[in-house]
């Protein structure tokens, strides 16, 4: 699955966790440029993505991604 498709898949999860229907994320989004992306929401995000996409992140992976792009690359590999 391409990065774009993965972003499309996880966008609704972001919107839900951040409680913002108008939220837009792209490859460069990260905790620096997205309002409210703190460690708590990060955990909720990761767990929800795992549940919805039926994949698993390791402990090391959970906090390692620099931005959405990197996360989606990893997700894309897990989906294949």
């Amino acid at each position: 699955m391409s990065i774009e498709k993965v972003i499309e898949k996880i966008k609704p999860i972001f919107k839900d966790i951040f409680d913002d229907e108008s939220l837009n994320i792209n490859e460069n989004s990260n905790s620096d440029n997205v309002d409210g992306w703190d460690s708590l929401n990060h955990i909720l995000l990761v767990v929800e993505i795992e549940k919805k996409l039926k994949i698993e992140f390791s402990a090391g992976e959970i906090a390692s991604y620099k931005n959405v792009g990197e996360m989606c690359e990893a997700i894309s590999k897990k989906l294949n």
Partner: protein, 546 residues
């Protein structure tokens, strides 16, 4: 309501969940792992916040972590921990004496360094964990403002308790889903403390307290004890009895004749609940909403303290739509699962208990004898219209003969002549030109009810026709279905040129209803129990089938 949360791990998810669950809560979350500091320091944010409730949450992980730091090796570790906790509680009671403290017990997860042998090694950290939990129970008896939450019971009812990755990355000691369960339980304790708890259970009888229908199956046929799945109902009654012993008021609300409904309580050897256990016993043919209003008035409590238990989805739905605040759990279909389902819902938290109150039940029984049932303003017409009931008519023929025969065998209450037909006889009737036999099924928004009515007509002569059989399952009482059927029959026989309808009511212990029904249609002067009416004179009645 102010709630302070002090944890030995990252408590953000717990706080966030509690805030969402209970909008009335203002939550103060102490900084990470600052339990001792917040409590010992007189000037801390905790005391400035002046909380009504404090949750102090420690876990087996923090218990074990701290054990490596102790310097005092003379006193067992768990004793040191309990001493420390007791000092903290005493300090809280001194500075904010009105505040209630909720402390979840430690999860008993085992590191398996000794396997199961740890029980024999008092110095092992796994054993110390168990001792600490025991000491907690003793502390809870001593300290009035301390309330424990049984974490290990929650573990029993849930999966995925701990997510190790979250422990490692974020110091979250429980999984997100389990944290939510903890929050739900904490909220129940808080609500109980505020007086919002279940004070009364209103119980249906048929298929709720026993298997089967007392009006039809009789005392020999209902399932309690060893008969059929009676055990499920016995277990359920036992549980209800223990709730009653603890002070929850039990009431009955059933669609039945009162005498018939009371019989099992008096005569059935396997009944666990007795009439003495029931504070208010209501059994009649009125709709349950009215009856529950009546019960509420006698007990003088709010609807939000009442739990209504009924196996019938339609009854549950009707009560829930009429009375917004009453609690109506969606019972599972299998009676064997009733008890555990309700246990899991954890509906009976309390924070105050003064022992078994014998007098109260008696008082309500007397009160209920005095009060008469008042007419409620609940509009049953609108409710029944909303059910979207549709009927199905089937000429009795080969495919439904077994079910038709069964209906004549099993129905007792709405059964005009109580003549039992075996399959052979039904078959003969279906082939006999002198008989018209039609079966009725009903469907509503809850699903199909299957075959629920039967009329067998017998031709007497050119102008008269006789109702040989008229039975209807009690499942569809109080919907006007019988009037719907009569109206249909009227048209069918008029079509064929008949002018007179003849009916007969053969009275039994159970079928008084039929007499009332035929009378309401205008059949009078029962000569030899038979009565005749010109078809045009049959009174019309409103029915709720659109």
């Amino acid at each position: 309501m102010k709630l302070a949360i002090l944890g030995s791990y990252s408590t953000q998810i717990l706080s966030k969940t509690l805030s969402h669950l209970n909008r009335e809560l203002e939550v103060y979350e102490a900084d990470y792992s600052q339990i001792d500091y917040e409590i010992i320091n007189d000037e801390s944010q905790l005391y400035k916040f002046k909380p009504d409730f404090i949750v102090i949450h420690e876990t087996s992980l923090s218990f074990k972590k701290m054990s490596y730091k102790i310097s005092n090796i003379d006193t067992p570790y768990y004793r040191q921990c309990i001493s420390r906790l007791e000092k903290l509680i005493d300090k809280l009671n001194k500075v904010i004496p009105e505040t209630k403290i909720i402390y979840p017990t430690l999860d008993l997860s085992n590191d398996m360094t000794f396997g199961n042998y740890f029980f024999k090694v008092p110095d092992s950290i796994d054993a110390q964990l168990h001792y600490y939990n025991y000491e907690l129970t003793q502390l809870a008896i001593k300290k009035q403002n301390l309330f424990l939450l049984d974490i290990n019971n929650l573990v029993f009812h849930n999966d995925e308790i701990r997510d190790e990755r979250l422990v490692v990355t974020s110091d979250l000691h429980f999984s997100i889903s389990f944290t939510k369960e903890i929050a739900i339980s904490l909220n129940k304790i808080i609500n109980a403390s505020l007086g919002n708890f279940i004070k009364c259970i209103v119980l249906d009888l048929d298929n709720t307290l026993w298997g089967g229908i007392i009006g039809d199956d009789g005392i020999e046929g209902i399932q309690i004890g060893n008969l059929g799945i009676g055990k499920a109902f016995s277990e359920f009654q036992l549980w209800l009895k223990s709730l009653k012993e603890r002070g929850v008021i039990l009431c009955v609300c059933s669609k039945n004749d009162e005498n018939i409904a009371k019989r099992p309580f008096i005569d059935h050897p396997d009944m666990i609940l007795s009439l003495d256990d029931i504070a208010v016993f209501v059994a009649n043919w009125k709709n349950k909403v009215e009856n529950i209003q009546h019960i509420k008035d006698i007990l003088n409590i709010g609807y939000d303290s009442i739990l209504f238990i009924d196996d019938n989805a339609m009854e549950r739905d009707m009560v829930k739509s009429a009375i917004d605040k009453i609690l109506v759990p969606e019972l599972p279909k299998d009676p064997a699962l009733y008890k555990n389902y309700l246990i899991r819902e954890n509906l009976f938290e309390i924070t105050n208990y003064s022992g078994f109150d014998n007098e109260r039940t008696k008082k309500y029984q007397e009160e209920s004898n005095r009060k008469t049932l008042e007419i409620s303003s609940f509009n049953i017409d609108n409710y029944l219209k909303s059910l979207s009931m549709k009927a199905e008519y089937e000429l009795v023929s080969k495919t439904i003969i077994p079910r038709i025969s069964q209906l004549t065998q099993r129905t007792n209450q709405f059964n005009a002549r109580t003549i039992r037909y075996d399959e052979g006889k039904i078959k003969n009737i279906s082939l006999d030109k002198n008989y018209i036999a039609i079966g009725f099924s009903l469907k509503d928004k809850f699903g199909k009810h299957g075959l629920v009515g039967l009329v067998i007509l017998k031709i007497i002569d050119d102008v008269s026709i006789f109702i040989d059989t008229f039975t209807m399952s009690c499942r569809v009482f109080n919907r006007g279905f019988e009037y719907f059927i009569i109206n249909y029959i009227k048209t069918i026989i008029e079509k064929r040129g008949f002018q007179y309808l003849v009916v007969e009511w053969i009275p039994t212990e159970k079928n008084v209803l039929v007499n009332e029904f035929y009378s309401s249609l205008g059949f009078k002067k029962f000569k030899n129990r038979k009565s005749k009416l010109n078809i045009n004179d049959i009174k019309k009645h409103k029915y709720y089938i659109k």
